[in-house]
């Protein structure tokens, strides 16, 4: 164990800040996964790639069409929402939502296709992404440096969560959304148009995912390239499963936990080598799921025969 880390508040704080930084990004992608799971009890393995594609659209909007960065981000979010709605209509809706395997296969297929198309169009050389947030640090204590980027990313994650929560619990479309996810057939019987509602869920998730990916690549230490979201997807899905696949706040908490595991835990217990950040996260996930099979905040499903 690294007792330096436990006795030196600076170092500890520095690690916590690093963890917050990563965790907020995981939360942003995890919330997209959760949205789709809530609506369709399906995990979209292509979520990360869709988000990457959206971030590329924002980049193209900024660098080639000359749009102001934030406008480009909004345009990209709208475009990816439209794209996701089209994907839901053509590739997802024909399948029985209770049969998981075909849907998992289709989303894995989408993962390959979207990644490949992005690779064909934009090639694999990384490009610098413009900074969205002011650079510099918001708070500094010795080596502990809380960057504005971290603050804004965290704020964005919380704001998005609050917005989605509001949308789902206070608006009519949110009510329809919750009805569909709780019982598809009954909500059809009371007159909810199930198809468009699910489509709305996909569109919303894609927009959220794009926003997450844009923020992720906007970190000055990163550059945008087609395979950037693959590893994020793994961490984000660990975060989503950790928090409970059908809980929005669970995604935020799960994301922050995975972020802390990745930086803090791995550095406190020095016998866990750095390469094992992912393994540590998976291990925590396993432990949580064995204790609570539907995650920390997820609803347990009762199975009937």
């Amino acid at each position: 164990m690294d007792f330096d880390l436990l006795t030196s508040p600076e170092l500890l704080l520095a690690r916590i800040f690093d963890g917050l930084n990563a965790g907020a990004v995981y939360a942003l992608v995890a919330v997209a996964l959760v949205l789709i799971f809530k609506a369709t009890t399906l995990i979209n393995f292509a979520q990360g790639e869709m988000a990457m594609f959206g971030a590329f659209l924002a980049y193209i909007g900024w660098s080639e069409w000359g749009l102001p960065m934030w406008i480009a981000v909004v345009v990209a979010m709208i475009l990816s929402a439209l794209g996701a709605a089209a994907i839901e209509r053509t590739l997802i809706r024909p399948f029985d939502p209770s049969d998981h395997l075909p849907l998992v296969i289709v989303t894995l297929g989408l993962l390959l296709i979207i990644g490949a198309v992005a690779g064909m169009i934009w090639k694999f050389d990384p490009r610098p992404f413009p900074e969205l947030f002011p650079s510099g640090s918001a708070f500094r204590l010795g080596i502990a440096n809380l960057r504005w980027y971290t603050v804004f990313t965290l704020a964005a994650a919380v704001a998005m969560m609050a917005l989605l929560q509001f949308l789902l619990s206070r608006t009519k479309i949110g009510l329809a959304f919750r009805a569909v996810s709780s019982n598809l057939e009954s909500s059809e019987l009371v007159g909810i148009r199930v198809g468009p509602t699910l489509q709305f869920g996909w569109a919303l998730a894609a927009a959220a995912g794009t926003f997450g990916a844009v923020i992720f690549v906007a970190d000055p230490v990163r550059q945008i390239e087609p395979s950037i979201m693959l590893s994020v997807l793994i961490f984000a899905s660990a975060a989503a499963a950790l928090g409970g696949l059908d809980s929005l706040w669970g995604a935020l908490v799960g994301g922050l936990i995975v972020g802390q595991v990745q930086t803090l835990l791995v550095n406190v217990f020095t016998f866990i080598p750095n390469e094992m950040a992912l393994a540590a996260a998976v291990f925590v996930l396993l432990v949580v799921l064995v204790a609570k099979p539907s995650g920390l905040f997820g609803t347990a499903r009762v199975e009937r025969v």
Binding site: F45, L101, G109, L110, M120, S231, S237, A241, A279, L289
Partner: protein, 424 residues
Amino acid sequence: MSARWTIVQGSPQHRIYRWVGWGSFVAAVLLIPLIVADVAVINIGSNSYKFTMSQLTLATSWAVAVLGVQVIVGYTGQLTLGNSFFAGVGAYLTAILVADYHWSYVSTLVVVLPITFLLGMAIGLPALRIRGLYLALVTISIAALLPSFAKLDTISIPFTGKTISELTNGSNGKDIKSISKIKSPDWIPWDGIAGFFQGIPVVGKFFGEGGLSARQEDTLYKYLIMLAIAVIAFWLVRNLLNSRVGRALQAIRDNETSAAVSGVDLALYKTLAFGVSAALAGVAGTMYAIDIGFVNSDDFGLFLAVNFVVGLVVGGVINMWGAVVGGLAIVLIPSMARSTQSVPLVKQSWLQGPVGPFVQGVLLILLTFVLPGGIVYGIRRLRARFVQVVPPELAAKGEMEEPPEDYIPLMEEPPPELSESVPD
């Protein structure tokens, strides 16, 4: 729609029909390597596709891996995507034992089988609680772990006194073929065999000319070893699935609760299925090490996990022939996509990008839509239009069984011809 020919089960015609079918399969498996001993080139349009022995041997190893995925996903209904992890473990164990301890390649299976089996059971334990998509998420994360495991440099392995990354040679990859090569024994008269086939009129020219080089002989010998391992694996799994264990696994797949009520020990059979599946992946890893002679951890990450799913879907989920087709698909799709340099109406620069994954993705979605039982099921439906095998009782009554009209859903009942689908 009735079939053109009807064959009564157990009749002499049926026996001939089966012999011809099996005979041509065995002939293809044994003769294609002699034809492809070097490189076979097929030209389509302006693209030339190369088929090499190394692809064929690799396909046999991935066929075993896909079989392992079928056992757990198709027959037991557990949605796990992490088998590439065990393939990596198997490949590394073989590589280390061969390169550092000078074992022979095939004898490493003695270590690989129990270790991957136990590892698989260890993963199966949490799977008793974790279900459905949660399990898919956990296992795909495990699949993503292998490359970082292989680069661990702080944990040392007992008895060896070396760290994992020293044993696996970290990110450089473990080279085995420069240390130990599989050599064809002298008693196999390769030149005589090649000469025999070259002497056959008309078809003889496909078998090349003159004797085989030493390298070609070694490749063919390697292929035979791998083929033998694969045949044994398929035979054992077939027996397992046709036994009490197999029926218990299928009961678990169809409905866990009712299986438990009927007296199936869920904990035992599920972990057993995970163990068997992982052991098959481990064997596939060993075969990979035999074939390639070089193991690099990055080849066993997420991409391979997705590849196994591709093999599973292309071949079919619950049909052992599907595993053979799946193994071939895993090898052939990327390599053919790479050699496709011009397609009408498609920009040339796009074809230099990641065409392989693109084709794989399109195939995944297309097959799920139009042929959810995989290619093997499609071939069976096609065959049912021409040949139909009926049991004697039905033939006596003059009733004809209708060939299957609709496709089968992926995860539901096995096709009626399942018992016939495995070799006997």
